[in-house]
Symmetry: C2
Subunit: 336 residues, 2 copies
C-alpha cells in the first residue's frame, strides 16, 4: 500500500477550511475560532496527520535541531554528558540529532557533514580528540561547542572542559598526602587531554621536590592501555607505591594488573583514576578518581551553545570546571 502520509491540505479539505488555517491551528497561535479548532483537531487525528519536519524546516529556514557528535560512545562517560546536553536542549525547545564518530577521520567528517546538511542550528562535540570537521564547522559559521577539550586556542570555537591540569595535580596531591612518594603515571596517549593530565602530574611532582621520581608509562584511554602501562610500571624497579592513571577505564585495567601481580589494592598499591564514570562507583570497583562534573558539562555546553546561537558574534569562551576528588577504596595510606 502506498499510503501517502496525509498533508496539511488533506486535513484542510476534511475540516472544510483553508490550509493556512490548519497551519495556524497546529501551532495554536491564537486567532482561531473554537469551532474551527475542534473541527481541525478532529480531522487531523482522524487522518493521523503529522506535520512534515522537512517542509517546516524549509519554510521556517530553521531546523530547530542541535547536532551532537559523540566520538566514543563506548566510554561510559559519554552517556552522562549526553544526558546533560539532551536535558538542556530539550528544555530550550530544540531536538537533538546524535551521531557517533569513529577512529576514521573521514567517517567522522562525513557525519558532521550530514549534520550540517540537516541545517542543524548548532553543534556539540563530545570527545577528547580534535574532531575532523571542526574547522569546517567554523568556516560554515555553525555555532559549535566542544566538550572535554579546551579549544579556546582555536579561534571561533567555544569549549568546555574540566581543568585537566589541575586535576592531574589534585591526583598527585591526594596520593602525596597519603604518604606516597614513588608515584607513577600511566598516560592516555598523545591527545591534548591526556597530555594536560600528564603535565599536571609532572608539575605537582616537581612542586613536591619529587622530580627524580617522575615516571610516565605509555597507556591509552582504555582498559587494555591501563593494564599494559601498569604492568610496565610494576616491572620497572622503581618501587612505585601509587599510580595515577589517565582515565577511569584505564584505571580499571590497572586494578586488574595489580590483581594479576597479587598486589593488594590499596594496601600494597594505590590507584587513582580520572573522569568519575558511574561505573567506577560500582562497589566491586570502588575506584578513587578525579571526577569531572559530567552532567553539568553537558548542560553548560548546551547553554553556551544557545548563547552563541543568539549572538554569533560574541567572542569564543572556554569554560573550565573544577574537577573534584572522589575518594573510594583504591587508594590508601602508604606503609612499606
Amino acid at each position: 500500500m502506498a499510503a501517502p502520509r496525509p498533508t496539511i491540505k488533506d486535513v484542510a479539505a476534511l475540516a472544510g477550511v483553508s490550509k493556512s488555517l490548519v497551519s495556524l491551528a497546529m501551532r495554536d497561535s491564537g486567532r482561531v475560532s473554537p469551532e474551527s479548532l475542534t473541527a481541525i483537531r478532529a480531522a487531523a487525528d482522524e487522518l493521523g496527520y503529522r506535520p512534515n519536519a522537512a517542509a517546516r524546516s524549509l519554510a521556517d529556514r530553521r531546523s530547530n535541531t542541535i547536532g551532537v557528535l559523540v566520538q566514543d560512545l563506548h566510554n561510559p562517560i559519554s552517556a552522562e554528558i549526553i544526558d546533560g546536553v539532551q536535558r538542556q536542549v530539550r528544555a530550550s525547545g530544540y531536538h537533538t540529532m546524535l551521531v557517533t564518530g569513529s577512529e576514521v577521520a573521514e567517517l567522522e567528517q562525513s557525519e558532521i557533514e550530514k549534520l550540517l546538511e540537516f541545517q542543524v542550528e548548532g553543534l556539540v562535540i563530545i570527545g577528547h580528540r580534535m574532531p575532523a570537521g571542526a574547522r569546517a564547522a567554523i568556516k560554515g559559521y555553525c555555532p559549535t561547542v566542544i566538550i572535554s577539550r579546551a579549544e579556546s586556542d582555536i579561534a571561533g570555537l567555544d569549549s568546555i572542559s574540566n581543568d585537566d591540569n589541575a586535576g592531574g595535580r589534585m591526583a598527585v596531591d591526594h596520593l602525596y598526602s597519603l604518604g606516597h612518594r614513588a608515584i607513577a603515571h600511566i598516560t592516555g596517549g598523545d591527545n591534548k587531554v591526556a597530555l594536560m593530565r600528564k603535565s599536571g602530574y609532572e608539575s605537582a611532582m616537581t612542586g613536591y621536590g619529587l622530580a627524580t621520581q617522575l615516571a610516565s608509562y605509555e597507556g591509552a584511554f582504555t582498559d587494555e592501555g591501563g593494564y599494559r602501562g601498569t604492568c610496565a610500571a610494576l616491572d620497572s624497579k622503581m618501587g612505585h607505591s601509587a599510580i595515577f592513571v589517565a582515565n577511569d577505564l584505564a584505571a580499571v585495567g590497572a586494578l586488574a594488573a595489580a590483581a594479576d601481580r597479587g598486589l593488594k589494592v590499596p594496601d600494597e598499591l594505590s590507584i587513582i583514576g580520572y573522569d568519575g564514570m558511574a561505573l567506577g562507583g560500582l562497589r566491586s570497583i570502588s575506584l578513587t578518581t578525579i571526577a569531572q562534573p559530567l552532567a553539568t558539562m553537558g548542560l553548560d555546553a548546551a547553554a553556551l551553545l544557545f548563547l552563541r546561537i543568539k549572538d554569533p558574534t560574541r567572542p569564543p569562551v572556554h569554560i573550565g570546571l573544577e574537577p573534584r576528588l572522589v575518594i573510594r577504596n583504591s587508594t590508601g595510606v602508604y606503609h612499606r
Copy 2:
C-alpha cells in the same frame, strides 16, 4: 552577520549554468559535460555550498534516514548494539537519527513522534521495555524493528532478540555442571526480558529436580538492584553457593555484595550474569556471563528493517539468536 547559506541557485549563477544542471552535477548522475562539472565543483566550494537536506527530503519524498530509539543509554550494552545498527544502516546508504528514551513514557512517546515528523523511513528500538510509541509506529505504518524483546506477539512489529529463556537455562546448566545445587536467582524486574530469563532459570532448576531449591530475589537491571538482591539472597538461610543474576550490570553489584560479606568469588560463591557487556570482560571484573551477540543483533535488526522497508507487506518475523556462555573467573566448581 546574516550569512545566508548559499543555495543551489547561487552556485548555478556563479558557474553560469542552470540550477537543474547543478542539481545533476551534485549527484554526479552522468550526462554532465566535464567542463560544466568542474565549473560547478569550483563554484560550489568557493561558496562553501552544502545541499539542504530538508529541501531534498521534501522533493524526494524520502528522508534517507532511520530513527533509532535507545531506551537506556547508560547500559553499556546499548553502545555495542548501536554500533551494529549504525554500521549496517550506513552500509545501506542511510543515516541514523539517534534519540534516547527515558523512564517517562510521555517523553519517550514524544521522541518517537519527533522521529516520525522527520519522516524517518524506519525505526529501530533498542530496549527491554515496551516502547510507549510502538503502537503509534505500527498504526502509522512506519517500519519498525525492536531489539532485545520478542514482539512477535504484537502484530506488525519485527523483532530480534536472543533467546532469554534458553539463556537462563544455560546459566543454570553451567552452574549445575560445576556441582552447584543451591542456585539462587536475582531478578531484573517485571519486564518481559527479565521474566523470560527467570522462567529459563525455573525450568532448568525443575528439570534438574531442584524445584525445592528455587529461590528468586527481587532485583533490577542495575548495579544497585543486583547488590540488594544478592544481599537478600545471602541473608536467607538457604546456603546458596551460586547466583544467577539477571544481567551483567546487576551481577557487578552482586560481586560487590559478596565482597562486602567477605565471600571469595568464585571459591565461596559463584556468580554468573547475562548480556556479555564488554566491561564484564575487564580483568578486574572478569564476570562469567551468558553473552548476547550484541553487534550482530544490531546488524541483523537493521538488515531486517530494510527488508521490511522494501516490502511492507511481509509478515512480521522474530529472529531469535542463540546466546553463548562466556566463562571467566566469577564461577568455579562447588566445594563446601
